[in-house]
């Protein structure tokens, strides 16, 4: 190829690159609009409405006393759960060899605990500590303040156990990504040559240090913002105290409590920014090739065992605690309206998240400013995802109350959908990144050359290729939306029957009969839907391989 021809093609590519396709432009603008809808009210919520109201002396000190010990409690809980969950996730990921060649059951085993609510493991295992159980009665029989101290220690233990069993799959996924980049022969070499026992594990830890650190930080930040298990366990942390402070703040005073939560906002912002950047880089980076190693059933025992501890055993404990099998059917009479409302909300959230995934994928997959905007959107969504739900909910309601005095947004389901889109927008953003990564660069160039960058072109090519990942993201976000509590109870208009609110009441007022029935239905439907998500992800992986082969 001559120099002149090179120059011509280079200039042509440059011209093509500078012209962003209309569909990508629309997607980028939609993403910008989403950011404005979500972030503008949040910013507005921090600004005092009436400066005179802010002059009440000591108002925040009264409702949110001494944040120092609260932050310390939060950090200790985060460290404990981070270490335990990462340890378990690392062990699972390593023994299953990074889940290479994993089947549907393995996908389900990893996904299931994450897809089910954070409080499920905790409330299930807490049956062992409830009044009437051996442990509960023993604690209750202890004299005076000792019963209180031991009871609180048991509550903390169960809360840490519950959150560990909820979050270990996240660690497993992060470590797995690291393991998949390792040479497959390394496993055999380690088995043959390395030391046994702790020395071998230390070698593994050093080998996987980046993903272990990433897991510790990610899980730690999620725990910092998680309220329900620690709240039900009566452990005062910053997230819970801010929640109570928001609950006790007079109208117009919520900004004080929102500001007091600055450590949570800061952590969410830093983590979201950093991880968002990494996700965007992963989307457009080199596609790693991973060799396939079959995993024996024996090697998978730890995986299935961990999932059983996270989901199956707690659910069984809850169902076993049900004293009357009729409670399972009565659940529908008592909570039927709440379930219907939750399903409507989950469907709306799932559809929006899938649309967000399309917009993100198209924007990042394009060039120039649209791609930059898409990458920025990923960062923002991850920031919002890391922020505690109660902060997101309160901020949105406060902000929208000021933007929309008619109550059009805040008086119906719109504010709930908005809050859930903010909470789970990160799933759409990551799915968008996965869409870009799924498409082989050569295939993408072919599509561009063919002019298939319009909406119709995308529908005929990219949409079909990415249908599994889009459906999986919509389904996953819908499942999480269905059982989300923190943001829901803050934004929900009074009188709305909602499953999340009912479950919070079941937990808060120890209505184990209703909680057990709800858990049985949630776990049952969760297993089915997780199987569908696992199958969709396997289809997506197959499509990715096909995409590589076509190119």
């Amino acid at each position: 190829m001559s120099d002149g021809q090179d120059q011509f093609e280079g200039a042509s590519a440059e011209r093509a690159g500078s012209r962003v396709p209309r569909f990508a432009r629309v997607c980028a603008i939609v993403l910008a609009g989403c950011v404005i809808l979500a972030v503008a009210p949040l910013i507005l919520a921090f600004i005092p409405r009436d400066p005179a109201v802010g002059t009440v002396p000591g108002a925040l000190e009264l409702i949110l006393p001494r944040t120092g010990p609260l932050v310390l409690n939060s950090l200790l809980a985060s460290a404990a759960v981070g270490l335990c969950a990462t340890g378990l996730g690392l062990a699972v990921a390593w023994t299953t060899r990074g889940l290479r060649g994993a089947g549907l059951l393995s996908h389900m085993a990893v996904l299931l605990p994450l897809m089910l609510p954070a409080y499920l493991s905790y409330s299930g295992w807490s049956v062992l500590r409830a009044p009437g159980s051996w442990l509960g009665d023993w604690i209750g029989s202890l004299p005076g303040t000792r019963a209180g101290d031991v009871g609180r220690a048991a509550n903390i233990g169960f809360a840490i156990l519950g959150m560990t069993l909820w979050l270990w799959p996240l660690a497993a996924v992060l470590v797995t990504a690291n393991i998949r980049r390792l040479d497959a022969d390394l496993f055999y070499m380690l088995r043959l040559e390395s030391a046994r026992g702790p020395a071998r594990w230390w070698l593994v830890v050093r080998l996987l240090r980046p993903s272990i650190l990433l897991s510790l930080v990610t899980i730690g930040i999620l725990v910092m913002g998680t309220a329900i298990p620690l709240h039900v366990a009566n452990v005062p942390t910053l997230a819970i105290s801010v929640w109570l402070a928001l609950d006790r703040s007079p109208p117009g005073e919520a900004w004080r409590a929102l500001l007091a939560a600055w450590p949570l906002w800061t952590l969410a912002a830093v983590a979201g920014w950093w991880l968002g950047g990494r996700a965007s880089d992963w989307a457009t980076g080199n596609r790693a090739t991973s060799s396939s190693i079959s995993v024996s059933l024996r090697q998978s025992i730890l995986l299935y065992g961990a999932t059983s501890l996270s989901v199956i055993i707690p659910a069984a404990l809850l169902v076993n605690a049900t004293r009357d099998s009729a409670s399972l059917m009565r659940f529908w009479r008592i909570s039927g309206n709440g379930v219907l409302h939750g399903l409507g909300l989950a469907t709306a959230t799932g559809v929006i998240i899938a649309l967000i995934a399309i917009a993100t994928g198209v924007a990042i997959g394009s060039r120039s400013w649209a791609a930059s905007l898409g990458k920025g959107f990923v960062r923002v969504m991850l920031m919002l995802g890391f922020a505690p739900g109660v902060l997101i909910g309160t901020g949105l309601v406060s902000g929208w109350n000021r933007l929309d005095s008619s109550g059009f947004v805040t008086s119906g389901m719109m504010i709930e959908v908005l809050a859930h889109a903010c909470r789970f927008g990160w799933i759409g953003a990551i799915a968008g990144c996965a869409m870009v990564r799924m498409e082989h660069p050569h295939l993408r160039d072919l599509r561009r050359a063919d002019g298939a960058e319009t909406l119709a072109g995308f529908a005929r090519t990219g949409l079909l290729l990415n249908l599994p990942i889009l459906a999986a993201s919509g389904l996953a976000s819908g499942m999480l939306s269905f059982t989300e509590i923190e943001a829901t109870i803050v934004v929900q208009p009074p009188g709305t029957g909602n499953l999340a609110r009912q479950i919070l009441n079941y937990l808060h007022f120890a209505r184990m009969e209703e909680m057990s029935a709800a858990a049985a239905w949630i776990v049952g439907s969760g297993i089915l839907l997780t199987a569908v998500i696992g199958w969709l992800l396997m289809l997506a992986e197959r499509a990715k391989r096909t995409s590589g082969e076509v190119s």
Partner: protein, 378 residues
């Protein structure tokens, strides 16, 4: 000394931001509030329950932790002139029932495990006493208020300990006291947490017997409770009324604990007239009817205690005047009913229906039922 004279403090900085707010009287405000409430609830009115805001005569308190403010209040009773309110900050407040002014406040001795959810004012052995169901400390605290509502109160007794044995409690919810001419003083204590029952004590706080056990109430011939949330004594009928919250029903018992009848049932839980969804409290009226507070339905339902039929509902979900969010308790001072609107952090007062003289709308909703004045009041 009148209640009005007792209320109020000289230090303006101690005054609550919102003490007692009169309900809006202008029709425009009412229409606006109704429209806002309609929008908030997200649905139209229910013809069967005639969901409308309460006809509020006064609102006491607002969200906050200053005196006269509440942080998720969960217990309410009255000694006739003052209201006793306990919130999730473990504060017990006494407020003037006429003005809403805060008179005194203090905290329970221990509250790290959780807060009380029940309070009962009673005259015991000729002395006014207040029984606090110290839920998460598995005991009942007995306070003796001073002669002046603003003066210090002191704990004169406490009874109960953790356990499921006789005289022990898991989570105490409420107390009812009666001085019966034939039985003497009886103290009834309800609890939940797996040992759901009503324990009965004598005047020396000695355990006598218990009523019921945990159960989901499918068999109405059995005395089963699932969170008996509130107790009240019908002294004239010599009955113990138990609000069986999670079984969505109300039980009528003799003072000896024999079941007379259930009103409502788990299988009929709902929001139609005559149905309950998590009834949490009850106030008896003089004409054989009662006002039942429903936590989940966010309303108050007037029922006929003898037939169990629903007469009318009051209130609807919302944040506006006369609207309710997770109402928890109710107490009567004369003909004024005070509703603990827990989710809105306030107490709303409304005029209870006149005994024996149902309004035109009530008669219409009665259908085939006899009007209360035709049955003869108590």
């Amino acid at each position: 000394m009148t209640a009005m004279q007792m209320g109020g403090r000289e230090d303006p900085s101690r005054e609550p931001p919102t003490c007692l707010t009169r309900a809006p009287s202008s029709s425009i405000a009412c229409v606006a509030a109704a429209l806002a409430a309609l929008a908030l609830s997200g649905c139209g009115s229910d013809p069967e329950t005639d969901a409308r805001p309460l006809d509020v005569v006064a609102t006491i308190g607002s969200v906050g932790i200053w005196p006269g403010q509440f942080a998720t209040p969960r217990a309410l009773d009255t000694d006739g002139s003052t209201l006793w309110v306990i919130d999730k900050a473990a504060r017990i407040q006494r407020l003037d029932a006429q003005t809403g002014a805060p008179l005194s406040e203090w905290k329970t001795p221990r509250h790290a495990n959780g807060m009380p959810v029940g309070v009962t004012c009673a005259v015991f052995d000729g002395r006014p006493l207040t029984f606090v169901a110290d839920t998460h400390e598995h005991r009942v605290l007995v306070y003796e208020p001073g002669s002046d509502p603003g003066s210090e109160v002191r704990i004169v007794a406490e009874f109960g300990s953790y356990g499921t044995g006789p005289g022990q409690f898991i989570y105490v919810t409420d107390v009812a006291v009666v001085a019966d001419p034939s039985l003497g003083v009886r103290i009834y204590v309800s609890e939940y947490g797996g040992s759901d029952r009503v324990s009965v004590f004598n005047e020396r706080f000695e355990f006598l017997f218990s009523i019921g056990e945990f159960g989901t109430g499918e068999d109405p011939s059995r005395i089963e409770f699932n969170r008996p949330q509130a107790l009240v004594i019908d002294e004239e009928a010599r009955e113990l009324i138990v609000v069986d919250a999670c079984n969505h029903r109300i039980g009528r018992f003799t003072l000896e604990g024999e079941l007379i009848a259930w009103i409502g049932s788990p299988s009929t839980a709902g929001r139609k007239l005559g149905q309950f969804k998590y009834p949490y409290s009850i106030a008896l009226l003089d004409d054989g009817t009662a006002l039942v507070v429903e936590y989940e339905n966010a309303r108050i339902q007037r029922i006929d205690m003898r037939t169990g039929r629903g007469i009318r509902t009051y209130g609807k979900p919302g944040r506006g005047p006369g609207e309710l969010v997770t109402p928890w308790s109710i107490a009567m001072v004369g003909r004024t009913a005070f509703v603990l609107d827990a989710g809105n952090n306030r107490v709303q007062a409304f005029r209870a229906p006149r005994p024996g003289q149902p309004r035109a709308t009530e008669v219409a909703s009665l259908g085939a039922m006899q009007a209360p004045d035709q049955k003869g009041g108590r």
